[in-house]
Every structure is written in C-alpha cells, then in structure tokens.
Amino acid sequence: MAEKLIAGIQVDCNEQGYLTNPEQWNKEIGLEIAAEENISMTDKHWELIDYLRKQYKDEVALTVRKVGKSGVVDIKEFYNLFPNGPLKTASKIAGIPKPVSCI
C-alpha cells in the first residue's frame, strides 16, 4: 500500500496504481489516471465510469457480461472505449478495485 499524488491530491493506492479507498476519487483523479492509461475520456466513457462506481457501491461483482448488459454499452462498445483489458483499465480510472477471485 502506498500514497500517490494524483491531480494534486494524496490518495491511497496499491502497487498497481488502483485506489484502495474509492471514497477519495474525483473526476480529476479519474482524468489523470485515464491519461496514464492513454484513454481520451468522452461523455460515454464517463457514463460508464458512473455505472461502474454505482455497481461497486451496491457490492455488485463486475464482469464483462454485466457491463455488456448495463444499458450503457454492449461488449464490443466497451472494448472500443477501453481497449486491452477493458475491465481492468476502466476500474482503475473509476477508482475502484479491479475484479478479483478468491486467490
């Protein structure tokens, strides 16, 4: 666990750069992480980020299938917005943990 300065704010994050306290997130932080991940954020990107943060808050486990049925994007659109490991990338930008298994 470490602290990192993102968008001028000290946030707690793990070795991979995921926020460990999603409450510390704001849009500016999301924007800076997106830039690090080479993602140019559009309104659609943010709509999806909002959806992911809500699911996390409701303790719903995120999968590509679930995102595809979100009503925000289908799976192909999800990949267009966040190429290369979309759930992993989008979770990081959204300031939530990436999906995990038991080990």
Partner: protein, 430 residues
C-alpha cells in the same frame, strides 16, 4: 400419563395443529446438508420437510478434477442422492418448473403443486457451454472438453490416456465459476501428469483467464507465483472469450485476441438453475439475490438461499455451503420464532488446492480476509499449512472424500473448524 393417552394427545395435536411445510429445492451438497440440519432442529410434530431433486446420483464434485488423471475411478465419485436424505424427510424425485413466490408454491414439471411456508433454494449452478458461440459441435469432447461435469471429466480422462501432446489450453470462459481455483489446479496436475508420462516436453500448457492474472490477491500472488514458472505454465490474462473457432482450433476474445490450441480444456459459463429464470427473480446468470449475512433472499422473507444458487460475493464451494448451513439453520429457527435473524455468514471458505507431484495447499479466507500463510485448523499446531505446499495438505485433500460423505453432507460439524473464519493461526501483516 399412560402410553395410549400420549399417543392420543400427539394424534390430536397433529390433526388440530396444521403441520407447516418446509420445502428444499435441490438435493446436492447444500440441500442435503440443510435436510439433515433441519431434521435434527425442527420439531417433527410441527414441520413437514420435503426436498425436491430429479437427480438419482450424488456426485463428489471435487473428484471431477482428479478423474481426468486417473487419480480417482468413476465408482469413487458416485453415491445415491437418497442415501443421504434423513428418514422422515420426503424426497420428491421430479423436475422443478418454477417458484410462484406470491402464492408460496412450487410448480413441478409434472404440473404438481407444492405449497410451502418456508422455501430453501439450493439448486446450485451448472455449466452452460451453449453461452459461447462455437463451443458446442462435433468437436465437443473431441478437442474441446470441460471437467466440471461427470461426462466431461470422464471423456477428458479417455482423451488424456492417449493424447500425444501439443498445445493445451486450460481456460475459463467467465466469472464467477464454482471452485474458482480448480482450473489452476488442473494446469498444475497436467504438469505432473505429463512429466510422469515422460512427455512433458511435448506439451505446452497455457492458462487463459478473464482475470488480470493467475493470482489476483496480493499475498497469494507473492507466495505462489513461483509455481507458474516452476511448472512452465504460460498465462494469457484479461481474455474475455467471444467465440471458439473449432475448425481452426483457436479461441477468440472480444478484443480480437486469438489463442491457438490442440486441446482446449475450458470451464464453460457457470449459471444458476433455469428454474430460477422461469421464476422471474434471478440475476443475469440466474443466481438469486440473497442477503450476504443472513442468507434470507431479497425476493421474499420466507425464501432462503444457500450454496451455489446465491449471488453472494463468496466463493461457490462445498465448504462455503457447509459454513452457510450452520448459520442458516440458526436463522430459520429464529425466523420461525419471529425473532431477528442474528446468524451472520462471514463469507468463510476453506479449500484445498492441488499443486501436483503429491503436494497441495490449503487456503482459509472470508469476505474481508484474503488467504494468508499460517496453520490450520489448530493455531500454531496445524497440522495443515495455509498457503504453503505440503504433502500433508495433499493427503488432507484425498482424505476429504471420506469427510464429505460421512460428516459434511450429513450435516455434522468438522472438529476444530468453526463456521466463522478464525484469525488465530494466521500470519497477517498490519
């Protein structure tokens, strides 16, 4: 009072006092456990317990991992469902159509209606290979296999007996799956199996997963990553399969990534029972929305859920059903008495992980505590080591088959192992 007076009173009570109906759907691991627990806990003059399952065979599912390698025989994995249903619990061998939660009824496929006062859903989850385009076809059980079903494991056993080598993929379609570590165990066992057959150099083993790695928790990643290198297992992470191109022998993901194979061992999409879909209250994978602590469904107060059928953020595993069963029994008794449900399931799971060459790990964790090193079940003494390979752990895994048939599904407690996970004996960094 005399004997005849006692009998008379009992008969009078039975006629005058309406027997209540407790109905369990599913007689697999979880349903069978609940039948045994509740038979012991509920007064027999007040509660009629019935359990519904069309299956005749109760399989020891952890054995499906070992059957492809001829470590178990088929006989060692099968017993009858009926053998484990206690006397006094009525087993109804019929297929379920759906639950009508508004009428407190279950409708069977033969049109028979079962009324209930309390319903326990324990219908589990199963593989749905049809969910992925191109998964099924002539190549199914030819070059593409699952080992999550009896048929799959048996057919794979026959294939592995004569397979001469090539690119072997061990693959997960999507999460969640029951027994989430089993695919990794399968890859580890492949390494031993082919080494023993003096053909390890003819086999390229690749583990393909939708997760971001073979390990996703920090301590497990640090402690166990060496196994992948040691056993020469390649990893393709972040792979969300879109389709199987069986003709060209490759799997393709939504991002266009392709992985070739000669032999594909996949864990198909796992879904809850279709009767949940027909009942109109499942999520997108047919799991029932359930309170993660009390195990009461979010559908209606008198419907409870345990085992693989829930949507809980807990692993889908037999040990989880065992720990849940103890909590749920307590909560059903409170519910009947009109008291608050105080039993709180903490997500406890306890699982063996075969690592090949006669060794295994054991992990013990819950909703908030990731697997860490330590001793189990007795702090400081063990004899089992958490998150560390040992031969005793492997013997423990093999011995567990006896524990399953004789203790677990009969609703008995395992000595020294409580339903709530213990922190004692664990090496937790502050």
């Amino acid at each position: 009072m005399g004997v005849y007076t006692n009998v008379g009173v009992l008969l009078f009570l039975t006629i005058v006092v309406d027997m209540k109906e407790l109905l369990i759907l599913g007689a697999g691991t979880a349903g069978t456990m609940m039948a045994n627990h509740l038979k012991k806990s509920l007064p027999k003059t007040m509660w009629n317990i019935r359990i519904v399952d069309h299956e005749e065979t109760h399989y020891y599912q952890p054995g499906f991992l070992l059957l492809p390698f001829d470590i178990y025989t088929t006989d060692q994995l099968k017993k009858s469902v009926a053998e484990f249903i206690p006397k006094g619990v009525h087993l109804i061998r019929e297929k379920i159509d759906r639950v009508d939660k508004d009428k407190d009824q279950v409708i069977l496929q033969n049109k028979e209606i079962l009324n209930y006062d309390i319903l326990i859903i324990a219908t589990g989850c199963t593989t749905a290979p049809q969910e992925i385009e191109g998964m099924l076809g002539d190549h199914w059980y030819n070059s593409v296999f699952d080992f999550y079903t009896y048929e799959g494991a048996k057919n794979l056993r026959d294939k592995l007996r004569t397979w001469e080598g090539g690119k072997l993929l061990v693959h997960i379609c999507e999460m969640p799956i029951k027994c989430p570590v089993a695919p990794l165990e399968f890859a580890f066992l492949c390494d031993s199996f082919f080494s023993n057959k003096k053909m390890r150099d003819k086999v390229e083993i690749t583990y393909v997963t939708p997760m971001s790695g073979a390990f996703t928790k920090p301590v497990a990643t640090k402690e166990l990553n060496y196994l992948l290198e040691q056993k020469n297992i390649n990893i393709v992470p972040d792979f969300n399969i879109e389709k199987v191109d069986a003709e060209r022998k490759k799997i393709i993901d939504y991002g266009g990534k392709e992985v070739e194979y000669d032999l594909l061992v996949t864990v198909p999409t796992n879904m809850g029972d279709e009767m949940i879909l027909r009942s109109g209250f499942g999520d997108d994978l047919n799991y029932v929305p359930t309170d993660k602590a009390t195990l009461q469904s979010k559908v209606k107060d008198n419907i409870f859920v345990l085992g693989d059928a829930t949507d809980l953020p807990a692993s889908k595993a037999g040990s989880v059903a065992h720990f849940q069963a103890e909590i749920l029994t307590e909560n059903i008794q409170s519910y009947i008495a009109g008291k608050p449900l105080k039993g709180a399931f903490d997500g406890h799971a306890n699982c063996f992980i075969e690592t090949g060459k006669g060794k295994a790990l054991i992990i013990d964790f819950n909703y908030v505590q990731e697997p860490v090193k330590g001793t189990f079940p007795i702090p400081g003494i063990g004899p089992l080591k958490l998150l560390e390979e040992s031969r005793i752990n492997h013997l423990g895994k093999l011995a567990f088959r006896w524990v399953y048939w004789n203790i677990l599904i009969k609703g008995r407690a395992i000595p020294f192992v409580s339903s709530a996970m213990k922190l004692a004996g664990k090496k937790i960094e502050k």
